[in-house]
Structure formats: C-alpha cells, structure tokens
Amino acid sequence: MSTKGMRRAGTGLAVVGLLGLMFVYWLSFFWVSTEANQGVAQRIFYVHVPAAWTAFLAFGLCALTSAMYLWLRDDRLDRAAVAAAEGGMVFGAIMLTTGPLWGRIAWGTYWTWEPRLTLTLLLWFIFLGYFMVRSSTENPEKGKRFAAVVAIVGALDIPFIHLSVLWFRSLHPQPVVVKPDGPTLPGDMLTTLLTSVAAFTVLFLGLFMLRYALEGLHRELDARARRVAA
C-alpha cells in the first residue's frame, strides 16, 4: 500500500476507533451494571484491560516484525516495528496509570511489587530501552538490528505476565474471560469489555498505520538529506 493509501486507511480506522471509544465511555457510565463487591471503581476495568491487551498486541507485533526484519532486512518491517513499539508505549502508559488508580480502591494501595505489576513495568522499560538503543549507535543500520533484538527479548516477557497470576500468589484476579471453561463475567460486563477491546484495537491499528506512514516520510527525508550531502 502506498503512503497516501496508508494515511487514508489509517485516518479512517482511527476515526472509527475514536467513535468506538466514545461509545465505550457511554456504555461504561450509563449502561453497564455496577459490580457488587468493588462498586463503581470496577468500571476502570473497561479501559485498563483493553489498554493492556492493545499494549501486548503492539509489543508482540513489534517483536514479530523485528524478527522478520533480522531475517529479511526489509526496511518496511523496521518501520512497522517502530510504529508498533510507539503504540505499545502509549497503550502501556494507559495500562500502567489506570491500574494503580483501580488498585488504590480495590487493594488499598497504588502499587505493590507483585509479579504481574513488576513484569509489566519491566516490559514497558525494555521497550523504552528499544528507542534508546535505536538512537545510540552512529550507524543507523546497526541501531535497527540491536533494537530488533531488544524487542524480541522484551516480548518474551508477555507470556510470563499472562501466566504470572496462575504461577505465583498475586493480588491480580485470575482470568475471567480467557479461560478453558468460558468467560465468567456477566453478559453486560462482557459486552462492554469486548466492545472496548474492539475499539482500542481498531484505534491502535489506525494510529499504527498513520505512524508507519510518518516513518516512511522520515526515511524519505533522510534519504534526500544523504543525496544532498553526497
């Protein structure tokens, strides 16, 4: 797809995603029932969990495209990896700020060094390192390769984050949706959650495409600067 086509598709998806997010806000505030034990604070669930899902999707996509870049050395794969990593940082930041707000009400503390929280914070910092590694070498090609390795190593943390609540004693609840015997959430809560996951995913894909197009323009600018210098 051309840069122009990518921008058009990205803008369309981002608009649909933003409208979806508005709809999710309406569902969360005016439609879904209040959870009996945690009360109104449980509504943070409808932004926290989809943000977490989107961050893991973005970091996973970054690792996948990075691995393919190391294999094929196609510059488009590196562009996709940067775009996905930036999205992961953004949605990861939402996950890491909304979680403590919920935790303060549910657990009585903003932060505790339990396995899932610690591993998630580690993941976010590994991808912060991804950007630092990219810009730390004089040879940009070397920076891309080093960063790709960081992304792959970082993404290995994702399965541990998911399984940490099963393996260790954790304040985080056990899975309520992705489990062998089906979801245990009430229908309206599951509907709101899945709508939110869909909205966040579409929004991410739209902004990912726009960011990919931007990275293409950056490289075009760099190539022009190199031509002028030569």
Binding site: L18, L21, V40, A41, I94, L101, I105, L210, E220, R224
Partner: protein, 74 residues
C-alpha cells in the same frame, strides 16, 4: 493595584468552592452518605487519562507529519 487584580480571581475561586461544597454535598443521596467519593474520582481520572493519552498521540503524529511534509516540500 495590579497585585490586587491578580488576587481577585483566585480569591473568588476559593470563596465559590467554600460556598458550593456544602451545597454539592447536600445533593448526594442519603444512601451514599458516609461513603467516600474517592472511587468516583479515580474512575473519572482513569477515563480522562485514557482519552488524553490517546489524543496526545494523535496530535503528536499529526504535528510530526506536518513538520516532515513541510521539510519535504522545501
């Protein structure tokens, strides 16, 4: 005189808050009396953070795109 002018908006805000707080508190249903409003604040802040961060990224991408296009157009 300028110092007094600068103090007026702040003083008004403090005065209005002091006057309106009991009025707002009186509107809370009796079933909620004694319950903390902190969960509501946390929910609003969480939702505000989510939309602010997303819109921040949208604006950031748009601004960077415009800058690069301007430089490419030169």
């Amino acid at each position: 005189m300028n110092k007094i002018k600068k103090l007026v908006p702040g003083s008004l805000a403090v005065l209005l808050s002091a006057v309106s707080a009991p009025a707002l508190a009186a509107q809370i249903p009796s079933a909620m009396a004694g319950q903390s409003l902190r969960p509501y604040w946390h929910v609003f802040i969480a939702y505000a953070i989510a939309i602010t961060v997303v819109l921040g990224w949208v604006i950031s991408i748009g601004r960077r795109m415009r800058q690069v296009e301007e430089r490419l157009g030169e």
